[in-house]
Point group: C3
Chain length 214, copies 3
């Protein structure tokens, strides 16, 4: 129960971070006030919505728990009003909150797929979908090539968290423990990835040779 | 019953307007004949489809009532054939029909969410989703930054219609009355917004100061 | 039973072709290794996913049959590693496999919609959705105007296959026969379209006159 409430709060913190990032992007591409709220909602709750549609889990969480939309709307409005201040003073804290969100979203995705009885690879995948699809859809609407698919170690962190989650599940760990540990692994890995500026290496062979031949 | 049929007809008129706008955009971005029909379908029935997927309302309206696809296909083909004539002579009537569609789509969305027993903010939101998501998806496929999120008062009209809808619901108005009144409010507000060229103001503070400093 | 297994194998071949095309596009637009796998999955199983969400057919096929994700992942990784070799030596075979995929996807879509009891136009449409939506979503994420909506005869082949399918259904053909025949028609039409470089003609009238006047 404690871990459930703890993850719920981290989930809302993640929604704030995602909504803030989306509202900031909305401002950059010239969306209006209500457009920014819609993009913020897509960025914050779009991943979980995708997951629930894919695994047929109804009603959607944000349709019955209005806290999500309230948190997202307030965040989007605040970021619109204090756009320059947020950009200036909150860029670094937002990265931190965003990592919390990634971790919380992923663990919620693992649990959701597990509760529906899906196979282990699907459990990990649904954590990834929850964590990244909101950002992907936000970038698509704002006509960016999705950042999470391009540069940053983001999906990797969720996958590693998922593997830890599955190991703890196999070890018959208690729910709160496997949730907290896999959440922490995802979160710390993400922070480390940002700090060390990790990127996935290209796995294409003969690239240099090819370039030389041109 | 009368109001139901009345709204159904307005709904189809809205589909025609949305399909025409989408088919015209398809022509501009160089889609072929069948691509234009697909975009027209996305623009016209995509919003209602999004809503029904989100609130888990199956089967989708256009899967069991083929009138929607027939109307959309005929419109898309006609607009493709008479593209230059439509652009020249029907640009203004289409704006008018589009406003009818916005209003009809929104009211249908309110009623759909209400019939599923969702909270009032969700009722309003589902009207907005029905009214704007088709246009958003159309613009995404055609690689435009969605117009409704950017410039025009569109979402605002649907929200105002939704507030009127909820007030009449609270006042225990009969269904036909609350539908017609909220539809009219949405429609008239949209016409007024076009006529007066209303835009949502930017709510960002200290923007000018920021620009001065640069 | 035989035809079922036969179509299942063609379906997986189609998934390989779609995943390879998507992974290759992912490389071109600069996605990383895991991003390429996600795009490959969207391209290969996105169409069937769209179809199943629209007709409310759960659980989704790739959630319970992991072969799809395995085939897609292996293909995406292989194409990433041997990108230049694939581009050089496999461009032509891939077009061939892609035509197999189009045909298999379409027939699977027809059968899926039919098994849910939808009207004939919906049956054809669901074949089209299965065949093209994966490619459309792949192009949207990679910020391309969807190719299948633009230039090539792709939807047309699926529609023709669908008409043949419906005729054989009306003639009370056995399932395996109607599947194999409509699959073959779709496949051969697609090969012919590629060979002859067929495009849909523009149906807009007075286009030349309009251009002359400018």
């Amino acid at each position: 129960m404690f871990s459930h409430n703890f993850i719920y709060i981290l989930d809302l913190i993640g929604c704030i971070a995602c909504a803030a990032a989306a509202a900031s992007l909305a401002k950059k591409v010239g969306l209006d006030f209500l457009g920014a709220i819609m993009i913020a909602a897509i960025g914050a709750i779009g991943g979980g919505t995708c997951r629930d549609l894919l695994i047929d889990r109804h009603p959607l969480f944000w349709l019955i728990d209005l806290n999500y939309l309230i948190v997202v709307s307030i965040t989007a409005i605040t970021v619109q009003i204090f756009y320059y201040q947020v950009e200036k003073f909150f860029a670094r804290p937002l990265v931190f909150f965003d990592a919390i969100g990634l971790a919380a979203f992923a663990v919620i995705g693992f649990e959701a797929a597990l509760s529906k009885g899906f196979a282990y690879p699907i459990v990990v995948l649904m954590g990834v979908v929850t964590a990244v699809n909101g950002g992907i859809m936000r970038d698509i609407v704002c006509r960016q090539i999705p950042l999470v698919l391009r540069e940053e170690i983001y999906i990797t962190c969720a996958i590693c968290g998922g593997i830890v989650f599955l190991i703890l599940l196999k070890l018959d760990c208690e729910i709160w423990l496997r949730d907290i540990v896999s959440l922490s692994v995802t979160f710390l890995l993400r922070l480390l990835a940002i700090k060390k500026k990790w990127n996935l290496p290209s796995i294409t062979i003969a690239e240099k040779k090819h370039l030389k031949n041109q």
